[in-house]
Amino acid sequence: MHKGRQILSPQHFNITLLRLAHQIIENYPSNEIIYIVGIQEKGVILAERLIEIIKDKLKSPKIVFGKLDITFYRDDFRIREKPIVANSTQIDFDVEGKKILLVDDVLYSGRTIHAAMAALQDLGRVGQIELLTMVDRRFNRHLPIKSDYTGIQVDSLDEAYVKVQWKHLDGEDKVLIFSANNKNKN
């Protein structure tokens, strides 16, 4: 197994998380409910971490959290090497007219976000969708999608692979990049 190159250390990772949480607090009026939807599975983890920080900073923030699975909306499910297993969608609020903050770990081609937006809009007429991602691979986009809140921007080749690691899953919070010939996708 090849080791990837670290592009965000555990220390910086936490600073970045903190900044993103602050940006959310800053942009949402304190009396407004913040609707946060994480994309299964890694977006959910990021969203949960951000909510933890926001709850720590504000006394009693009004946050409604949902999980979105986009398996049935993907356009690549029949051409992927590895099949995808459907996860559950848990959105227990009415999305009609709401401003929703969509959260995912890596913004790459934009296809996942495109599918997520379609999936969200199938639940009702959403008022507005904002996007937050930990990593933005800005030169690898296939669709005109950009994120409103970005953790770190990464300039990489199409063949490279970026992985966000999480303390409770991988031992440490960090972001790694694997080059084209030694990528270790999982």
Partner: protein, 313 residues
């Protein structure tokens, strides 16, 4: 572990799939059940897939259920029924299907009166084939939705006791149910008049009984089958009235039990014959849940078969 992929390209019967496949279909169906209970009951997964529903035998429920499942997955659907087709003019099965496939169809859902018709076809064509019933042989999606519905009621089916009542001899649902339930670790028994219990059923590891009352007491779930008069070329029972008297499940029988059991029926039901109205409409009965689960299970089967790469040429 199945890792999100079925072990087979076709669903010809439960006999040909394993318990990992069954559990994968169930976990996917749970997500689809969520989808079909939303305001917008549709997902775009199969928008580039064309599915032909070939029904060489009559069907209401299964055909409707498959068609709804296909439409809710955004597939293009073409329907065919033998009563209005060139089959009547003497065309062979293979010719009929090849003609339809020339119109670029990716998947075939077929019901056919001949047992093994699907297996034969799978050796000759590229499209994914789903068996929607072949004669008295198998009806895999019905067995899957039955087991899925039982699981919703009882949790894990390992060690649970399921009794299939009625015309087991002519039932494709019975055979698929037996395979499916055994693969999930359940104990299966069949109960009916001696003439309607197949002679060698014991070879499948299934108990048989002619005593309805005792079998009801034994089981956690009673899956009641219809008497298939249309498949009976000779008289197997003296009369429907006599059958209803000795083998029909009624409220009186259920009231005698010291426990609550789940009542199921694959439909169409003959009220007053194999099941009385007060049982079919009672709180024990999950007949309508079965129908709802049927759409979710069929969506899962179609989705999982379509996600196999072989469909991309």
């Amino acid at each position: 572990m199945s890792e999100g992929k079925l072990s087979t390209k076709h669903l010809l019967g439960i006999k040909y799939i394993n318990s990992d496949d069954i559990n994968l279909i169930f976990s996917t169906a749970e997500q689809f059940k969520d989808v079909i209970n939303r305001p917008i009951k549709k997902v775009p997964s199969l928008r580039d897939v064309t599915i032909a529903n070939l029904f060489f035998e009559n069907s209401t429920r299964t055909k409707l259920s498959f068609e709804l499942a296909e439409k809710r997955l955004s597939a293009d659907v073409v329907n065919f029924s033998s009563s209005t087709s060139s089959v009547k003019k003497g065309e062979t099965l293979l010719d009929t299907v090849n003609n339809i496939l020339s119109m670029k169809v990716d998947m075939v859902v077929m019901r056919h009166p001949a047992p093994g018709a699907h297996y034969f076809l799978s050796n000759h064509i590229d499209a994914n084939i789903i068996n929607a019933g072949d004669g008295t042989h198998e009806h895999p999606t019905q067995a899957l939705l039955d087991a899925f519905s039982m699981r919703e009621q009882l949790g894990n089916l390992r060690g649970k006791k399921i009794c299939i009542f009625g015309d087991v001899l002519h039932s494709r649902v019975a055979l698929s149910n037996i395979y499916c339930l055994q693969k999930l670790g359940a104990k299966v028994r069949v109960c009916g008049p001696p003439t309607l219990i197949p002679k060698y059923i014991g070879k499948l590891g299934v108990e048989s009984s002619y005593n309805v009352e005792e079998s009801l007491q034994w089981c956690d779930v009673a899956n009641i089958l219809r008497i298939q008069l249309e498949r009976q070329d000779i008289k197997y029972i003296p009369s429907l009235r006599e059958y209803a008297m000795y083998y029909g499940i009624n409220k009186k029988l259920l009231d005698k039990l010291d426990k609550k059991i789940v009542i199921m029926h694959p439909g169409p039901i003959n009220r007053g014959v194999e099941i009385s109205s007060d049982v079919a409409d009672s709180e024990h009965s999950i007949i309508l849940q079965q129908v709802e689960n049927g759409v979710a299970i069929r969506m899962a089967v179609l989705f999982l078969l379509a996600s196999q790469r072989s469909i991309i040429h």
